[in-house]
Assembly symmetry: C2
Protein backbone atom coordinates (compact mmCIF):
# COMPACT_ATOMS: atom_id res chain seq x y z
CA UNK A 1 0.00 0.00 0.00
CA UNK A 2 0.95 3.63 -0.50
CA UNK A 3 0.40 5.28 2.87
CA UNK A 4 0.62 8.98 3.68
CA UNK A 5 0.88 10.17 7.29
CA UNK A 6 -0.22 13.79 7.69
CA UNK A 7 1.14 15.35 10.88
CA UNK A 8 4.46 14.17 12.33
CA UNK A 9 4.14 14.64 16.09
CA UNK A 10 4.65 11.82 18.58
CA UNK A 11 1.93 9.60 17.12
CA UNK A 12 2.35 10.50 13.43
CA UNK A 13 6.13 10.27 13.68
CA UNK A 14 5.97 6.91 15.44
CA UNK A 15 3.55 5.68 12.80
CA UNK A 16 5.84 6.83 10.00
CA UNK A 17 8.75 4.98 11.60
CA UNK A 18 6.74 1.88 12.46
CA UNK A 19 5.10 1.53 9.04
CA UNK A 20 8.39 2.09 7.18
CA UNK A 21 10.10 -0.50 9.40
CA UNK A 22 7.63 -3.13 8.12
CA UNK A 23 9.32 -2.77 4.69
CA UNK A 24 6.13 -3.76 2.86
CA UNK A 25 4.53 -0.36 2.27
CA UNK A 26 5.46 2.87 0.51
CA UNK A 27 5.40 5.37 3.36
CA UNK A 28 5.33 9.13 3.03
CA UNK A 29 4.99 11.84 5.66
CA UNK A 30 3.93 15.48 5.75
CA UNK A 31 3.97 18.12 8.45
CA UNK A 32 2.93 21.76 8.16
CA UNK A 33 6.12 22.79 9.97
CA UNK A 34 9.16 22.92 7.61
CA UNK A 35 11.50 22.27 10.56
CA UNK A 36 9.68 19.01 11.38
CA UNK A 37 9.81 17.99 7.71
CA UNK A 38 13.57 18.59 7.74
CA UNK A 39 13.91 16.49 10.93
CA UNK A 40 11.88 13.69 9.35
CA UNK A 41 13.98 13.79 6.15
CA UNK A 42 17.22 13.67 8.15
CA UNK A 43 15.95 10.75 10.25
CA UNK A 44 15.01 8.80 7.08
CA UNK A 45 18.40 9.46 5.46
CA UNK A 46 20.13 7.70 8.35
CA UNK A 47 18.21 4.44 7.73
CA UNK A 48 18.84 1.58 5.29
CA UNK A 49 17.07 2.24 1.97
CA UNK A 50 14.44 -0.48 2.51
CA UNK A 51 13.04 1.09 5.66
CA UNK A 52 13.13 4.76 4.61
CA UNK A 53 10.14 7.03 4.23
CA UNK A 54 9.62 9.99 1.93
CA UNK A 55 8.63 13.46 3.10
CA UNK A 56 6.30 15.63 1.01
CA UNK A 57 6.14 19.43 1.08
CA UNK A 58 2.35 19.75 0.73
CA UNK A 59 -0.78 17.77 1.59
CA UNK A 60 -1.51 17.55 -2.15
CA UNK A 61 1.89 15.96 -2.90
CA UNK A 62 1.59 13.63 0.08
CA UNK A 63 -1.85 12.36 -0.97
CA UNK A 64 -1.24 12.21 -4.74
CA UNK A 65 -0.40 8.49 -4.93
CA UNK A 66 -1.73 7.38 -1.55
CA UNK A 67 -4.15 4.49 -1.08
CA UNK A 68 -4.52 5.39 2.59
CA UNK A 69 -4.11 8.71 4.35
CA UNK A 70 -3.63 8.78 8.12
CA UNK A 71 -4.66 12.08 9.71
CA UNK A 72 -2.28 12.51 12.64
CA UNK A 73 -2.78 16.20 13.42
CA UNK A 74 -4.35 17.53 16.63
CA UNK A 75 -8.09 18.11 16.47
CA UNK A 76 -7.88 21.92 16.02
CA UNK A 77 -5.72 21.49 12.88
CA UNK A 78 -7.93 18.81 11.38
CA UNK A 79 -10.32 20.98 9.39
CA UNK A 80 -7.65 22.70 7.33
CA UNK A 81 -5.81 19.43 6.59
CA UNK A 82 -9.09 17.80 5.55
CA UNK A 83 -9.88 20.75 3.29
CA UNK A 84 -6.51 20.47 1.61
CA UNK A 85 -6.94 16.72 1.25
CA UNK A 86 -10.41 16.88 -0.29
CA UNK A 87 -9.51 19.75 -2.62
CA UNK A 88 -6.51 17.75 -3.85
CA UNK A 89 -8.98 15.29 -5.37
CA UNK A 90 -7.98 12.43 -3.01
CA UNK A 91 -10.14 9.34 -3.53
CA UNK A 92 -8.50 6.81 -1.25
CA UNK A 93 -9.21 5.66 2.27
CA UNK A 94 -8.89 7.95 5.29
CA UNK A 95 -8.19 7.01 8.89
CA UNK A 96 -7.06 9.11 11.85
CA UNK A 97 -5.46 8.78 15.27
CA UNK A 98 -7.26 11.56 17.13
CA UNK A 99 -8.21 10.90 20.74
CA UNK A 100 -11.87 11.80 20.19
CA UNK A 101 -13.92 10.35 17.38
CA UNK A 102 -17.23 12.23 17.22
CA UNK A 103 -15.92 15.57 15.89
CA UNK A 104 -13.60 13.90 13.37
CA UNK A 105 -16.39 11.76 12.00
CA UNK A 106 -18.57 14.85 11.60
CA UNK A 107 -15.79 16.87 10.01
CA UNK A 108 -15.08 14.11 7.49
CA UNK A 109 -18.78 13.61 6.74
CA UNK A 110 -19.30 17.34 6.11
CA UNK A 111 -16.47 17.43 3.59
CA UNK A 112 -17.45 14.24 1.81
CA UNK A 113 -21.03 15.45 1.33
CA UNK A 114 -19.74 18.60 -0.35
CA UNK A 115 -16.94 16.97 -2.29
CA UNK A 116 -17.22 16.43 -6.04
CA UNK A 117 -14.89 13.45 -5.54
CA UNK A 118 -16.37 10.98 -3.05
CA UNK A 119 -13.50 9.27 -1.24
CA UNK A 120 -13.48 5.54 -0.74
CA UNK A 121 -14.19 5.83 2.92
CA UNK A 122 -13.28 6.81 6.44
CA UNK A 123 -12.43 4.60 9.41
CA UNK A 124 -11.99 6.46 12.70
CA UNK A 125 -9.06 5.22 14.75
CA UNK A 126 -7.38 5.88 18.09
CA UNK A 127 -4.18 4.23 19.32
CA UNK A 128 -3.99 4.26 23.14
CA UNK A 129 -0.32 5.09 23.16
CA UNK A 130 0.19 8.65 24.30
CA UNK A 131 3.17 9.91 26.25
CA UNK A 132 3.59 13.12 28.15
CA UNK A 133 6.53 13.96 25.87
CA UNK A 134 5.23 14.97 22.49
CA UNK A 135 6.83 15.77 19.15
CA UNK A 136 8.66 13.95 16.36
CA UNK A 137 11.82 13.96 18.47
CA UNK A 138 10.18 11.53 20.91
CA UNK A 139 8.66 9.27 18.26
CA UNK A 140 9.36 5.57 18.41
CA UNK A 141 8.59 2.81 15.85
CA UNK A 142 7.69 0.45 18.72
CA UNK A 143 5.23 2.87 20.37
CA UNK A 144 2.22 0.79 19.32
CA UNK A 145 3.48 -2.67 20.25
CA UNK A 146 0.82 -4.23 22.45
CA UNK A 147 -1.22 -1.01 22.57
CA UNK A 148 -5.00 -1.06 22.20
CA UNK A 149 -6.06 0.72 18.99
CA UNK A 150 -9.74 1.49 18.54
CA UNK A 151 -11.15 1.29 15.04
CA UNK A 152 -14.72 2.55 14.77
CA UNK A 153 -17.20 0.32 12.99
CA UNK A 154 -20.13 2.70 12.98
CA UNK A 155 -22.73 2.54 10.31
CA UNK A 156 -21.93 3.49 7.45
CA UNK A 157 -18.28 2.39 7.68
CA UNK A 158 -17.53 -0.25 5.04
CA UNK A 159 -16.44 -3.53 6.59
CA UNK A 160 -13.87 -3.93 3.84
CA UNK A 161 -12.29 -0.55 4.63
CA UNK A 162 -12.34 -1.41 8.31
CA UNK A 163 -10.50 -4.68 7.66
CA UNK A 164 -7.89 -2.88 5.53
CA UNK A 165 -7.03 -0.54 8.40
CA UNK A 166 -7.28 -3.37 10.94
CA UNK A 167 -4.73 -5.44 9.00
CA UNK A 168 -2.32 -2.53 8.98
CA UNK A 169 -2.76 -1.87 12.71
CA UNK A 170 -2.17 -5.53 13.60
CA UNK A 171 1.02 -5.42 11.49
CA UNK A 172 2.25 -2.73 13.88
CA UNK A 173 1.75 -5.12 16.79
CA UNK A 174 -1.24 -3.26 18.20
CA UNK A 175 -4.49 -4.83 19.45
CA UNK A 176 -7.47 -3.71 17.36
CA UNK A 177 -10.52 -2.88 19.49
CA UNK A 178 -13.76 -2.65 17.46
CA UNK A 179 -16.05 0.06 18.81
CA UNK A 180 -18.47 2.79 17.85
CA UNK A 181 -17.87 6.52 17.98
CA UNK A 182 -20.05 7.23 21.04
CA UNK A 183 -18.87 4.18 22.98
CA UNK A 184 -15.24 5.10 22.32
CA UNK A 185 -15.74 8.72 23.32
CA UNK A 186 -17.47 7.76 26.57
CA UNK A 187 -14.75 5.25 27.49
CA UNK A 188 -11.81 7.59 26.85
CA UNK A 189 -13.46 10.36 28.85
CA UNK A 190 -13.26 8.06 31.91
CA UNK A 191 -9.81 6.56 31.34
CA UNK A 192 -7.90 9.40 29.71
CA UNK A 193 -9.56 12.81 29.48
CA UNK A 194 -10.79 13.07 33.08
CA UNK A 195 -7.50 11.66 34.44
CA UNK A 196 -5.68 14.45 32.56
CA UNK A 197 -7.94 17.11 34.09
CA UNK A 198 -7.68 15.61 37.57
CA UNK A 199 -3.88 15.41 37.35
CA UNK A 200 -3.75 19.08 36.41
CA UNK A 201 -6.12 20.08 39.22
CA UNK A 202 -4.15 18.10 41.84
CA UNK A 203 -0.83 19.59 40.72
CA UNK A 204 -2.29 23.11 40.83
CA UNK A 205 -3.75 22.41 44.27
CA UNK A 206 -0.33 21.65 45.72
CA UNK A 207 1.45 24.45 43.90
CA UNK A 208 1.02 27.20 46.47
CA UNK A 209 2.38 25.19 49.39
CA UNK A 210 6.18 24.82 49.15
CA UNK A 211 6.14 22.39 52.08
CA UNK A 212 3.65 20.19 50.21
CA UNK A 213 5.79 20.14 47.07
CA UNK A 214 8.78 18.97 49.12
CA UNK A 215 6.76 16.25 50.87
CA UNK A 216 5.20 15.07 47.61
CA UNK A 217 6.28 11.51 46.80
CA UNK A 218 4.91 8.52 44.90
CA UNK A 219 1.18 9.18 45.02
CA UNK A 220 1.68 12.79 43.88
CA UNK A 221 4.30 11.87 41.27
CA UNK A 222 2.08 9.29 39.57
CA UNK A 223 -1.24 11.01 40.21
CA UNK A 224 -0.05 14.21 38.50
CA UNK A 225 2.28 12.79 35.84
CA UNK A 226 0.05 13.64 32.88
CA UNK A 227 -0.27 17.24 34.09
CA UNK A 228 3.05 17.55 32.21
CA UNK A 229 1.13 17.07 28.94
CA UNK A 230 0.89 20.19 26.79
CA UNK A 231 -2.15 22.25 27.90
CA UNK A 232 -3.19 22.85 24.27
CA UNK A 233 -3.31 19.09 23.60
CA UNK A 234 -5.30 18.46 26.79
CA UNK A 235 -7.68 21.26 25.82
CA UNK A 236 -8.07 19.86 22.30
CA UNK A 237 -9.04 16.38 23.45
CA UNK A 238 -11.33 17.52 26.25
CA UNK A 239 -13.13 20.27 24.33
CA UNK A 240 -13.62 17.87 21.41
CA UNK A 241 -15.30 15.40 23.77
CA UNK A 242 -17.03 17.92 26.03
CA UNK A 243 -20.29 16.06 26.69
CA UNK A 244 -18.70 12.75 27.63
CA UNK A 245 -16.00 14.48 29.69
CA UNK A 246 -18.62 16.46 31.59
CA UNK A 247 -20.65 13.30 32.33
CA UNK A 248 -17.54 11.49 33.53
CA UNK A 249 -16.44 14.45 35.66
CA UNK A 250 -19.88 14.45 37.28
CA UNK A 251 -19.71 10.74 38.01
CA UNK A 252 -16.30 11.29 39.59
CA UNK A 253 -17.62 14.18 41.65
CA UNK A 254 -20.48 12.05 42.93
CA UNK A 255 -17.98 9.48 44.18
CA UNK A 256 -15.90 12.20 45.82
CA UNK A 257 -19.05 13.63 47.43
CA UNK A 258 -19.73 10.17 48.87
CA UNK A 259 -16.30 9.95 50.45
CA UNK A 260 -16.61 13.50 51.78
CA UNK A 261 -19.78 12.42 53.57
CA UNK A 262 -17.96 9.34 54.83
CA UNK A 263 -15.17 11.59 56.19
CA UNK A 264 -17.72 13.51 58.25
CA UNK A 265 -19.34 10.41 59.68
CA UNK A 266 -18.64 9.15 63.20
CA UNK A 267 -17.95 5.80 61.64
CA UNK A 268 -15.54 7.28 59.10
CA UNK A 269 -12.93 4.55 59.33
CA UNK A 270 -15.35 1.83 58.27
CA UNK A 271 -17.24 4.03 55.80
CA UNK A 272 -14.12 5.14 53.93
CA UNK A 273 -12.79 1.59 53.88
CA UNK A 274 -16.06 0.33 52.38
CA UNK A 275 -16.08 3.19 49.88
CA UNK A 276 -12.53 2.39 48.75
CA UNK A 277 -13.23 -1.31 48.07
CA UNK A 278 -14.68 -0.82 44.59
CA UNK A 279 -11.77 1.20 43.22
CA UNK A 280 -9.31 -1.14 44.92
CA UNK A 281 -10.88 -4.23 43.35
CA UNK A 282 -11.02 -2.55 39.92
CA UNK A 283 -7.37 -1.53 40.04
CA UNK A 284 -6.19 -4.93 41.32
CA UNK A 285 -7.96 -6.65 38.38
CA UNK A 286 -6.28 -4.31 35.88
CA UNK A 287 -4.82 -4.80 33.36
CA UNK A 288 -6.91 -7.83 32.42
CA UNK A 289 -5.11 -10.92 31.19
CA UNK A 290 -5.85 -12.11 27.64
CA UNK A 291 -7.91 -15.27 27.50
CA UNK A 292 -7.37 -17.92 24.84
CA UNK A 293 -7.28 -16.89 21.18
CA UNK A 294 -10.54 -17.52 19.38
CA UNK A 295 -11.65 -17.41 15.78
CA UNK A 296 -14.28 -14.69 15.41
CA UNK A 297 -16.43 -14.36 12.28
CA UNK A 298 -16.15 -11.05 10.48
CA UNK A 299 -19.60 -9.56 11.13
CA UNK A 300 -20.06 -6.02 12.40
CA UNK A 301 -22.30 -6.96 15.34
CA UNK A 302 -20.04 -9.82 16.42
CA UNK A 303 -16.97 -7.60 16.27
CA UNK A 304 -18.68 -4.81 18.21
CA UNK A 305 -19.83 -7.30 20.84
CA UNK A 306 -16.23 -8.41 21.25
CA UNK A 307 -15.11 -4.80 21.77
CA UNK A 308 -17.91 -4.09 24.25
CA UNK A 309 -16.81 -7.11 26.28
CA UNK A 310 -13.31 -5.63 26.49
CA UNK A 311 -11.98 -7.85 23.70
CA UNK A 312 -9.53 -7.18 20.89
CA UNK A 313 -8.15 -8.58 17.64
CA UNK A 314 -4.55 -9.44 16.83
CA UNK A 315 -4.90 -10.76 13.27
CA UNK A 316 -7.18 -10.62 10.27
CA UNK A 317 -7.26 -13.95 8.39
CA UNK A 318 -5.99 -13.71 4.79
CA UNK A 319 -9.46 -14.59 3.44
CA UNK A 320 -10.95 -11.80 5.62
CA UNK A 321 -13.72 -14.09 6.84
CA UNK A 322 -12.44 -14.40 10.39
CA UNK A 323 -10.18 -12.59 12.83
CA UNK A 324 -8.19 -13.84 15.82
CA UNK A 325 -9.85 -12.37 18.89
CA UNK A 326 -9.22 -12.35 22.65
CA UNK A 327 -11.51 -11.68 25.56
CA UNK A 328 -10.04 -10.31 28.79
CA UNK A 329 -9.87 -12.54 31.84
CA UNK A 330 -10.08 -10.63 35.09
CA UNK A 331 -7.04 -11.63 37.06
CA UNK A 332 -8.27 -10.89 40.59
Amino acid sequence: MNIAVLGLGLIGGSLLRGLAALKVHQVLGFDADPAIRALARDAAARLPAASRWQVAGTVRDAAADADLVVLAVPLPALDSVLDALVSSGFRGLITDVTSVKGPVREAVARRLERAANPVAGYVGGHPMAGREKSGFGNSDPALFTGAAWVLCLDDPVSLDDWLTVAELVTQLGARVVPSTTPEHDRAVAAISHVPHLVASAMAANAADDLLALTLAAGSFRDGTRVAASRPDLVAAMCSGNADAVRDSLRALRERLDEVELALESRDSLKKIRDWAQEGHAARMAWPPDPGRPQEVPVQPETLLRLGRAGGWITMVAPDRRTVTGFLPVRSA
Copy 2:
Protein backbone atom coordinates in the same frame (compact mmCIF):
# COMPACT_ATOMS: atom_id res chain seq x y z
CA MET B 1 21.33 4.08 71.10
CA ASN B 2 18.95 1.30 71.98
CA ILE B 3 16.07 1.60 69.53
CA ALA B 4 12.81 -0.37 69.54
CA VAL B 5 10.58 -0.42 66.46
CA LEU B 6 6.97 -1.33 67.31
CA GLY B 7 5.06 -2.57 64.28
CA LEU B 8 6.87 -4.35 61.44
CA GLY B 9 4.93 -3.52 58.30
CA LEU B 10 6.51 -1.91 55.24
CA ILE B 11 7.73 1.19 57.11
CA GLY B 12 8.57 -0.45 60.45
CA GLY B 13 10.27 -3.37 58.73
CA SER B 14 12.29 -1.09 56.49
CA LEU B 15 13.28 0.98 59.50
CA LEU B 16 14.37 -2.13 61.40
CA ARG B 17 16.51 -3.19 58.45
CA GLY B 18 17.87 0.30 57.75
CA LEU B 19 18.78 1.05 61.38
CA ALA B 20 20.42 -2.34 61.91
CA ALA B 21 22.44 -1.88 58.70
CA LEU B 22 24.05 1.24 60.20
CA LYS B 23 25.76 -1.09 62.72
CA VAL B 24 25.93 1.66 65.37
CA HIS B 25 22.68 1.05 67.26
CA GLN B 26 21.10 -1.80 69.18
CA VAL B 27 17.94 -2.45 67.21
CA LEU B 28 14.94 -4.45 68.35
CA GLY B 29 11.57 -5.02 66.73
CA PHE B 30 8.09 -6.05 67.85
CA ASP B 31 4.92 -6.89 65.99
CA ALA B 32 1.60 -8.01 67.44
CA ASP B 33 1.41 -10.78 64.83
CA PRO B 34 3.51 -13.85 65.81
CA ALA B 35 3.90 -14.79 62.14
CA ILE B 36 5.49 -11.41 61.38
CA ARG B 37 7.78 -11.78 64.39
CA ALA B 38 8.89 -15.17 63.07
CA LEU B 39 9.53 -13.65 59.62
CA ALA B 40 11.57 -10.85 61.19
CA ARG B 41 13.61 -13.32 63.29
CA ASP B 42 14.33 -15.48 60.23
CA ALA B 43 15.39 -12.44 58.19
CA ALA B 44 17.79 -11.34 60.96
CA ALA B 45 19.30 -14.81 61.26
CA ARG B 46 20.38 -14.66 57.62
CA LEU B 47 22.49 -11.51 58.20
CA PRO B 48 26.04 -11.05 59.53
CA ALA B 49 25.99 -10.68 63.33
CA ALA B 50 26.91 -6.97 63.26
CA SER B 51 23.81 -5.96 61.30
CA ARG B 52 21.25 -8.19 63.02
CA TRP B 53 18.26 -7.03 64.98
CA GLN B 54 16.49 -8.66 67.91
CA VAL B 55 12.77 -9.44 67.99
CA ALA B 56 10.78 -9.10 71.24
CA GLY B 57 7.57 -10.95 72.06
CA THR B 58 5.85 -8.09 73.89
CA VAL B 59 5.81 -4.29 73.88
CA ARG B 60 7.11 -4.40 77.46
CA ASP B 61 10.13 -6.50 76.49
CA ALA B 62 10.77 -4.38 73.43
CA ALA B 63 10.77 -1.14 75.41
CA ALA B 64 12.59 -2.39 78.52
CA ASP B 65 16.08 -1.13 77.56
CA ALA B 66 15.12 1.28 74.78
CA ASP B 67 16.28 4.90 74.65
CA LEU B 68 14.00 5.52 71.68
CA VAL B 69 10.77 3.82 70.68
CA VAL B 70 9.47 4.20 67.14
CA LEU B 71 5.72 3.64 66.83
CA ALA B 72 5.26 2.12 63.38
CA VAL B 73 1.72 0.76 63.67
CA PRO B 74 -1.25 2.05 61.67
CA LEU B 75 -3.27 4.76 63.36
CA PRO B 76 -6.14 2.49 64.52
CA ALA B 77 -3.66 0.28 66.42
CA LEU B 78 -1.83 3.16 68.03
CA ASP B 79 -3.87 3.54 71.21
CA SER B 80 -3.36 -0.01 72.40
CA VAL B 81 0.38 0.05 71.67
CA LEU B 82 0.74 3.37 73.50
CA ASP B 83 -1.17 1.96 76.48
CA ALA B 84 1.14 -1.02 76.64
CA LEU B 85 4.19 1.22 76.30
CA VAL B 86 3.16 3.66 79.04
CA SER B 87 2.06 0.91 81.41
CA SER B 88 5.45 -0.77 80.94
CA GLY B 89 7.01 2.22 82.69
CA PHE B 90 8.87 3.40 79.60
CA ARG B 91 10.67 6.72 80.20
CA GLY B 92 12.59 7.23 76.97
CA LEU B 93 11.89 9.16 73.81
CA ILE B 94 8.98 8.34 71.49
CA THR B 95 8.68 9.04 67.79
CA ASP B 96 6.32 7.67 65.16
CA VAL B 97 5.96 7.28 61.40
CA THR B 98 2.20 7.69 61.02
CA SER B 99 0.97 9.61 57.99
CA VAL B 100 -1.14 12.01 60.07
CA LYS B 101 0.26 13.84 63.05
CA GLY B 102 -2.64 15.54 64.86
CA PRO B 103 -4.31 12.41 66.31
CA VAL B 104 -0.99 10.84 67.32
CA ARG B 105 0.11 13.98 69.13
CA GLU B 106 -3.20 14.04 71.00
CA ALA B 107 -3.07 10.34 71.83
CA VAL B 108 0.46 10.66 73.22
CA ALA B 109 -0.41 13.81 75.19
CA ARG B 110 -3.46 12.12 76.78
CA ARG B 111 -1.33 9.21 77.99
CA LEU B 112 1.55 11.30 79.24
CA GLU B 113 -0.78 13.49 81.31
CA ARG B 114 -2.17 10.41 83.04
CA ALA B 115 1.10 8.54 83.35
CA ALA B 116 2.84 8.23 86.68
CA ASN B 117 6.07 7.99 84.71
CA PRO B 118 6.54 11.05 82.50
CA VAL B 119 8.47 9.99 79.42
CA ALA B 120 11.32 12.11 78.13
CA GLY B 121 9.36 13.32 75.17
CA TYR B 122 7.61 12.79 71.87
CA VAL B 123 8.66 13.91 68.39
CA GLY B 124 6.07 13.29 65.67
CA GLY B 125 7.55 11.99 62.43
CA HIS B 126 6.44 10.98 58.95
CA PRO B 127 8.69 9.51 56.27
CA MET B 128 7.30 10.16 52.77
CA ALA B 129 8.17 6.72 51.53
CA GLY B 130 5.04 4.66 51.08
CA ARG B 131 4.52 2.00 48.50
CA GLU B 132 1.34 0.37 47.32
CA LYS B 133 2.77 -2.99 48.44
CA SER B 134 2.69 -3.20 52.19
CA GLY B 135 3.96 -5.65 54.75
CA PHE B 136 7.30 -6.81 56.19
CA GLY B 137 7.84 -8.93 53.08
CA ASN B 138 8.20 -5.78 50.98
CA SER B 139 10.42 -3.93 53.45
CA ASP B 140 13.70 -2.51 52.22
CA PRO B 141 16.59 -0.98 54.21
CA ALA B 142 17.07 1.64 51.44
CA LEU B 143 13.41 2.73 51.44
CA PHE B 144 14.23 6.07 53.07
CA THR B 145 17.26 7.07 51.00
CA GLY B 146 16.56 10.56 49.68
CA ALA B 147 13.02 10.55 51.07
CA ALA B 148 11.60 13.60 52.83
CA TRP B 149 10.90 12.83 56.51
CA VAL B 150 8.88 15.33 58.48
CA LEU B 151 9.78 15.85 62.14
CA CYS B 152 7.33 18.04 64.01
CA LEU B 153 8.79 20.87 66.05
CA ASP B 154 5.58 22.01 67.72
CA ASP B 155 5.63 23.67 71.05
CA PRO B 156 6.30 21.88 73.55
CA VAL B 157 8.68 19.51 71.70
CA SER B 158 12.15 19.71 73.21
CA LEU B 159 14.72 20.89 70.68
CA ASP B 160 17.18 18.38 72.07
CA ASP B 161 14.77 15.48 71.52
CA TRP B 162 14.06 16.76 68.02
CA LEU B 163 17.78 16.83 67.19
CA THR B 164 18.22 13.28 68.50
CA VAL B 165 15.57 11.97 66.11
CA ALA B 166 16.81 14.23 63.30
CA GLU B 167 20.33 12.81 63.62
CA LEU B 168 18.98 9.29 63.35
CA VAL B 169 16.84 10.12 60.33
CA THR B 170 19.74 11.75 58.49
CA GLN B 171 21.82 8.61 59.19
CA LEU B 172 19.21 6.71 57.17
CA GLY B 173 19.85 9.02 54.22
CA ALA B 174 16.50 10.79 54.50
CA ARG B 175 15.95 14.55 54.28
CA VAL B 176 14.56 15.96 57.55
CA VAL B 177 11.76 18.48 56.98
CA PRO B 178 10.98 20.59 60.08
CA SER B 179 7.26 21.32 60.32
CA THR B 180 4.35 21.67 62.71
CA THR B 181 1.48 19.24 63.19
CA PRO B 182 -1.19 21.34 61.40
CA GLU B 183 1.08 22.39 58.54
CA HIS B 184 2.11 18.77 57.97
CA ASP B 185 -1.44 17.50 58.05
CA ARG B 186 -2.63 20.12 55.56
CA ALA B 187 0.24 19.42 53.16
CA VAL B 188 -0.18 15.63 53.14
CA ALA B 189 -3.92 15.96 52.55
CA ALA B 190 -3.10 17.67 49.23
CA ILE B 191 -0.19 15.52 48.09
CA SER B 192 -1.09 12.09 49.46
CA HIS B 193 -4.52 11.60 51.05
CA VAL B 194 -6.62 13.26 48.33
CA PRO B 195 -4.57 11.60 45.55
CA HIS B 196 -5.39 8.23 47.16
CA LEU B 197 -9.11 9.00 47.22
CA VAL B 198 -9.09 10.35 43.67
CA ALA B 199 -7.22 7.29 42.37
CA SER B 200 -9.81 5.05 43.97
CA ALA B 201 -12.71 7.08 42.56
CA MET B 202 -11.25 7.07 39.03
CA ALA B 203 -10.62 3.32 39.11
CA ALA B 204 -14.17 2.67 40.34
CA ASN B 205 -15.53 5.00 37.64
CA ALA B 206 -13.99 2.92 34.88
CA ALA B 207 -14.83 -0.43 36.44
CA ASP B 208 -18.26 -0.96 34.91
CA ASP B 209 -17.14 -0.38 31.32
CA LEU B 210 -15.13 -3.35 30.01
CA LEU B 211 -14.26 -1.40 26.87
CA ALA B 212 -12.81 1.41 29.00
CA LEU B 213 -10.66 -1.02 31.01
CA THR B 214 -9.21 -2.40 27.77
CA LEU B 215 -8.50 1.07 26.38
CA ALA B 216 -6.96 2.26 29.65
CA ALA B 217 -3.28 3.07 29.19
CA GLY B 218 -0.67 5.36 30.75
CA SER B 219 -2.87 8.10 32.20
CA PHE B 220 -5.16 5.54 33.84
CA ARG B 221 -2.29 3.30 34.97
CA ASP B 222 -0.49 6.11 36.78
CA GLY B 223 -3.56 8.07 37.84
CA THR B 224 -5.03 5.05 39.62
CA ARG B 225 -1.86 3.29 40.82
CA VAL B 226 -2.40 4.03 44.51
CA ALA B 227 -5.94 2.65 44.35
CA ALA B 228 -4.07 -0.64 44.83
CA SER B 229 -3.26 0.46 48.40
CA ARG B 230 -5.10 -1.46 51.11
CA PRO B 231 -8.51 0.19 51.73
CA ASP B 232 -8.07 -0.04 55.50
CA LEU B 233 -4.78 1.87 55.34
CA VAL B 234 -6.32 4.54 53.08
CA ALA B 235 -9.27 4.80 55.46
CA ALA B 236 -6.95 5.10 58.49
CA MET B 237 -4.94 7.97 57.05
CA CYS B 238 -7.92 9.87 55.65
CA SER B 239 -10.20 9.48 58.65
CA GLY B 240 -7.33 10.51 60.95
CA ASN B 241 -6.93 13.71 58.94
CA ALA B 242 -10.58 14.28 58.09
CA ASP B 243 -10.70 18.10 58.34
CA ALA B 244 -7.66 18.74 56.17
CA VAL B 245 -8.71 16.06 53.67
CA ARG B 246 -12.17 17.58 53.38
CA ASP B 247 -10.72 21.06 52.79
CA SER B 248 -8.37 19.75 50.16
CA LEU B 249 -11.15 17.74 48.45
CA ARG B 250 -13.23 20.92 48.31
CA ALA B 251 -10.37 22.90 46.78
CA LEU B 252 -9.99 20.14 44.18
CA ARG B 253 -13.69 20.15 43.46
CA GLU B 254 -13.65 23.91 42.92
CA ARG B 255 -10.96 23.49 40.29
CA LEU B 256 -12.92 20.71 38.62
CA ASP B 257 -16.05 22.89 38.69
CA GLU B 258 -14.05 25.58 36.89
CA VAL B 259 -13.00 23.23 34.13
CA GLU B 260 -16.54 21.90 33.82
CA LEU B 261 -17.70 25.47 33.18
CA ALA B 262 -14.87 25.88 30.67
CA LEU B 263 -16.04 22.69 28.89
CA GLU B 264 -19.48 24.22 28.43
CA SER B 265 -18.17 27.50 27.08
CA ARG B 266 -18.18 28.34 23.35
CA ASP B 267 -14.54 29.21 23.76
CA SER B 268 -13.76 25.90 25.47
CA LEU B 269 -10.49 25.25 23.66
CA LYS B 270 -8.89 28.44 24.94
CA LYS B 271 -10.56 28.29 28.36
CA ILE B 272 -9.43 24.74 29.10
CA ARG B 273 -5.93 25.50 27.86
CA ASP B 274 -5.72 28.53 30.18
CA TRP B 275 -7.13 26.50 33.07
CA ALA B 276 -4.53 23.75 32.56
CA GLN B 277 -1.54 26.12 32.63
CA GLU B 278 -1.24 26.31 36.42
CA GLY B 279 -1.13 22.55 36.98
CA HIS B 280 1.19 22.13 34.03
CA ALA B 281 3.64 24.71 35.36
CA ALA B 282 3.50 23.20 38.86
CA ARG B 283 4.20 19.69 37.57
CA MET B 284 7.00 20.78 35.24
CA ALA B 285 8.75 22.50 38.18
CA TRP B 286 8.49 19.35 40.31
CA PRO B 287 10.49 17.85 41.91
CA PRO B 288 12.44 20.97 42.89
CA ASP B 289 16.23 20.86 42.63
CA PRO B 290 18.23 21.30 45.84
CA GLY B 291 20.00 24.64 46.06
CA ARG B 292 23.42 25.00 47.66
CA PRO B 293 24.00 23.59 51.14
CA GLN B 294 23.82 26.21 53.86
CA GLU B 295 24.65 26.27 57.54
CA VAL B 296 21.44 26.90 59.46
CA PRO B 297 21.44 27.83 63.17
CA VAL B 298 19.52 25.45 65.41
CA GLN B 299 16.59 27.64 66.47
CA PRO B 300 13.00 26.43 66.28
CA GLU B 301 11.70 29.41 64.28
CA THR B 302 14.58 29.29 61.82
CA LEU B 303 14.13 25.56 61.29
CA LEU B 304 10.37 25.92 60.81
CA ARG B 305 10.92 28.76 58.32
CA LEU B 306 13.21 26.47 56.34
CA GLY B 307 10.53 23.77 56.24
CA ARG B 308 7.80 26.24 55.23
CA ALA B 309 9.97 27.38 52.34
CA GLY B 310 10.17 23.76 51.13
CA GLY B 311 13.63 23.22 52.63
CA TRP B 312 15.19 20.25 54.40
CA ILE B 313 18.17 19.15 56.48
CA THR B 314 20.72 16.47 55.64
CA MET B 315 23.01 16.68 58.66
CA VAL B 316 23.06 17.80 62.28
CA ALA B 317 26.49 19.22 63.26
CA PRO B 318 28.21 17.26 66.08
CA ASP B 319 27.98 20.28 68.41
CA ARG B 320 24.21 20.51 67.62
CA ARG B 321 24.46 24.27 67.08
CA THR B 322 23.90 24.16 63.34
CA VAL B 323 22.44 21.88 60.68
CA THR B 324 23.16 21.56 56.97
CA GLY B 325 20.06 22.81 55.15
CA PHE B 326 18.89 23.10 51.56
CA LEU B 327 16.24 25.27 49.95
CA PRO B 328 14.54 24.04 46.79
CA VAL B 329 15.28 25.74 43.50
CA ARG B 330 12.37 25.62 41.05
CA SER B 331 13.75 24.04 37.93
CA ALA B 332 11.29 25.43 35.38
